[in-house]
Amino acid sequence: MTQAEIKLCSLLLQEHFGEIVEKIGVHLIRTGSQPLRVIAHDTGTSLDQVKKALCVLIQHNLVIYQVHKRGVVEYEAQCSRVLRMLRYPRYIYTAKTLYSDTGELIVEELLLNGKMTMSAVVKKVADRLTETMEDGKTMDYAEVSNTFVRLADTHFVQRCPFVPATENSDPGPPPPAPTLVINEKDMYLVPKLSLIGKGKRRRSSDEDATGEPKAKRPKHTADNKEPIPDDGIYWQANLDRFHQHFRDQGIVSAVANRMDQIFRSLPVGYNISKQVLDQYLTLLADDPLEFVGKSGDSGGGMYVINLHKALGSLATATLESVVQERFGSRCARIFRLVLQKKHLEQKQVEDFAMIPAKEAKDMLYKMLSENFISLQEIPKTPDHAPSRTFYLYTVNILSAARMLLHRCYKSIANLIERRQFETKENKRLLEKSQRVEAIIASMQATGAEEAQLQEIEEMITAPERQQLETLKRNVNKLDASEIQVDETIFLLESYIESTMKRQ
C-alpha cells in the first residue's frame, strides 16, 4: 500500500469512525495481519478498546479474520475496501435512480450500518420515509419489502456469510473464531417474512389526540419483545454489482457521445424497430472504437462487447484529458500521436504533428519528466554510444494509469484535509449557529412568539451569516470534487484490474 493510500484510509476512518478506530485500522493496514494481543501492544491501546474498534471494523466489512494454526486468530485490514467508502454517495445515488427513494434509503442504511437484518432495514426505512411524507400518510412495510426483494434479485444486496449450524454433539471446545460460510445459491435468497406494519412517525406528544400516545406506548414496548423472525440473516450491499453498473454506464455514455444518439442502458430492452436496431449494431461494430465486435451469425448475428478494449479506451481517454488540461492541446496532440503510433523518433513526432521542432522538443521533455511518456533506447552499436542510438518515444498505458491513480489518491486526501481545515477554521461560528438553531427549535416547540424568534435569529449577524453561507458552499464544492476525482479513480482502477487479469 502506497503512502498516499494509507493517508487517505486514515482520513476516511477518522472522519467516519473516530480516532481509536482510525489508529487500529491504520496500524493493521500498515502491518498486515496480526493477532489481537499484538495489536493492543503495538498501538498502546487497552484490550477492551481494541476489541470495540475491531468490532466496528468487522461489522463494516473493513477487516476480516482468519484462524491460523495453534488457534491464533489474526485480523487483516482491507485497504481497498476502506477506499470504497469514498464511493458511498455514488452507490446511494445509483440506487435512487434505479429504485427511487425507497431503494436509496435501503442502500444508505445498509452502507451506514455495514450489516443488517432485513426486518430491521425495512422497519427503519419505513420510519424514515414516513417522516418525510405528508401528515397522515405512512409508508407501508410491504412496499419497502418489495423494493428490498427487487434489490436482492438484481444482486445489489447480498447475504453475508453466516455461521453454519453445528451439531451439538461436538465434544471439543468451541473454535476461537467462527468460520463463516455462504452458499452461492443462498446469497440472494430472501427469507419468507411477513412484515406487516406501517412506518412510525416520530411524533411529538401533543400532535395527536391526547389519548392515543399513552395507549400506543405500552403496545410499542410489547412489540420489541417479540423475536425478530429473521435473526441471524444479515444483509450487506454488494459493491461489485454496483461497480459493474458503473462500468456499463461509462461504456454506454462513451458510445453515446460518439454516436450522437440516445441509447438505453444495457440490458434493458430497446423499443426501436428491429431494422433500425440492426443498423445501429452494424454501426457499432464498424466504429473505430471497437467496443462491439461481431462474432458469428447465429440468431441473425451475435454481437459481443469487448470489455477490455472498452475499459482501455476509457482509460486512455482519461489520460489524454489530463494531458490536455495540464499541458495544453498541442501537447495533447503529440501525446495522442505517440499513443497511436506506439514508437516514434523525435523527427517523426515533429513531422506528423506539424509542430515546430523547438516547441515539439520542449513538450516532449515536459511530458517525459512527468512520466506520461517514456523513452526506449535501441542501440545501433554494441557500445550504446548516444550518437549512434535510436531514441524512441512511447507511451506505456499501464504505468501511466498507475501514476495517475496515485495522484488521484493524494488529491482526494488533499481535498478532505482542506475541507476539515475549513470546518475547523469556522468551528466557533458553526457552534454558535448550532446553539442558535437549537434554541429556536426548542422555543418553537414551546410555542414562542414571532418576535422572540426574530430576536434570537438576529444573534447571528449578517456578515456571520455570509460567512456561514460561504463555508457551506466551499464544503459542498470540496465534497463534489472528491466524488468527481473518485470517478476517475474508478475508471483507472477498472482498467488496471482488467489488464492484470489478462496477464
Partner: protein, 310 residues
C-alpha cells in the same frame, strides 16, 4: 596520330549508337597501341563526348546523346579556362540531381582538399552554374545543386516551409478550416434525421472533397496537393477531433489512390474532461511538494482558495 584516333573512335560510336567495346576499337585500328588507344578514349571521356558503361561482357563506350552533348559543349566553351577539378566537381553536383549535395560529400567523392573545394565552389557560383540552398533539416548545412534546378521537397520542406521557417500559423489556419468543413458536414447529416446508416455515411468526407474545398477557399498562396491535405487531416486525428476510415474504392473513382479512399468525419470526445482535472490538485504544478504541515499544504493552498472563490 592521336587526333586521328579520337576521330575514328567517334565515328565508330556514331556507327554503333548502342556502344562499342574496346575490342571493336582494337579491331578497327590494330595499328594503334593499347596505351595510345586508352589515352584517346580517356580524352574523349573527359571532354564529355563519350559515355562509359559497364556491361556483362566488359566496358562499353557510347556516344553521348546529342541533347546531353548540347549543354556540355556549351559548358565546355565556358569552361575553356577551367581545370579538370572544376569539371569533376560540377559532374558530382550534377549527379546529385535536385536533392543537392553537401560540401563534405563533394570532398569525399572527389578526394580534393577542402580549400580547393571551397575555391571551386565559389568559382562555379560566381559563374552562375550552381547555387547553394539551405537545408531545412539542419539549418547550417548548405547543399549545392545546379543553378536551374528546382530544389526537392525534402530540402525546402515543401508547402509548410517558406524560407526555412515553419509556417505554424498557416498550418493552424488550415487545421481549423478543415475541421469546420467536416463539422458542418456532420451537422447537416445529423439534422437530416434519416436512418442511422445513411446519416453516418453522409457525415463522412473523402480527402479529395476536403482538398477541393480548401483549394476553392483560396487561403493558400502555395498550391497544396491532396497528400498535404491528408497530413493536415492527420493532425486533426491526433487532436482527437476527427476519425478516419479507409474504404475500398474502384480504380478511377475520383480521389482514390491505389484502390482505396480515406474518409474523414468529425467526432465528439468519448468522455468529458475527467474528474481529476476539475480539482485544483489535478493541474497543480507543485503537487509533489505539497504535504500537510509543509510550506505548501492543502490548508494554505492558494490554488484551492482561488478555486473556491470562483
Amino acid at each position: 596520330m592521336r587526333f586521328l584516333a579520337t576521330l575514328r573512335i567517334i565515328e565508330l560510336c556514331h556507327q554503333f549508337p548502342h556502344g562499342i567495346t574496346d575490342q571493336v576499337i582494337q579491331n578497327e585500328m590494330p595499328h594503334i597501341e593499347a596505351q595510345q588507344r586508352a589515352v584517346a578514349i580517356n580524352r574523349l571521356l573527359s571532354m564529355g563526348q563519350l559515355d562509359l558503361l559497364r556491361s556483362n561482357t566488359g566496358l562499353l563506350y557510347r556516344i553521348k546523346d546529342s541533347q546531353n552533348a548540347g549543354p556540355v559543349s556549351f559548358f565546355l566553351s565556358k569552361m575553356k579556362g577551367s581545370d579538370n577539378q572544376e569539371k569533376l566537381v560540377y559532374q558530382i553536383i550534377e549527379d546529385a540531381g535536385n536533392k543537392g549535395i553537401w560540401s563534405r560529400d563533394i570532398r569525399y567523392k572527389s578526394n580534393l582538399p577542402l580549400t580547393e573545394i571551397n575555391k571551386i565552389l565559389k568559382n562555379l557560383e560566381s559563374k552562375k552554374l550552381i547555387k547553394a540552398v539551405k537545408s531545412v533539416a539542419a539549418s547550417k548545412k548548405k547543399v549545392y545543386m545546379l543553378y536551374n534546378l528546382q530544389p526537392d521537397r525534402s530540402v525546402t520542406g515543401g508547402a509548410w516551409y517558406s524560407d526555412q521557417d515553419f509556417e505554424s500559423e498557416f498550418v493552424e489556419v488550415l487545421n481549423q478550416q478543415c475541421f469546420k468543413f467536416l463539422q458542418s458536414k456532420a451537422e447537416t447529416a445529423r439534422e437530416s434525421k434519416q436512418n442511422p446508416m445513411i446519416q453516418r455515411n453522409s457525415s463522412f468526407a473523402s480527402s479529395h472533397e476536403v482538398w477541393k474545398y480548401i483549394c476553392e477557399l483560396g487561403i493558400s498562396k502555395v498550391e497544396l496537393s491532396m497528400e498535404d491535405i491528408e497530413t493536415i487531416l492527420n493532425t486533426l486525428i491526433y487532436d482527437g477531433k476527427v476519425e478516419m476510415t479507409i474504404i475500398a474504392a474502384k480504380e478511377g473513382t475520383v480521389g482514390s489512390v491505389d484502390g482505396h479512399m480515406k474518409l474523414y468525419r468529425a467526432v465528439n470526445p468519448i468522455i468529458p474532461p475527467t474528474g481529476l482535472v476539475r480539482a485544483p490538485c489535478g493541474l497543480c504544478p507543485v503537487f509533489d511538494d505539497c504535504h500537510e504541515g509543509g510550506e505548501i499544504s492543502p490548508s494554505n493552498c492558494i490554488y484551492m482558495t482561488e478555486w473556491l472563490e470562483f
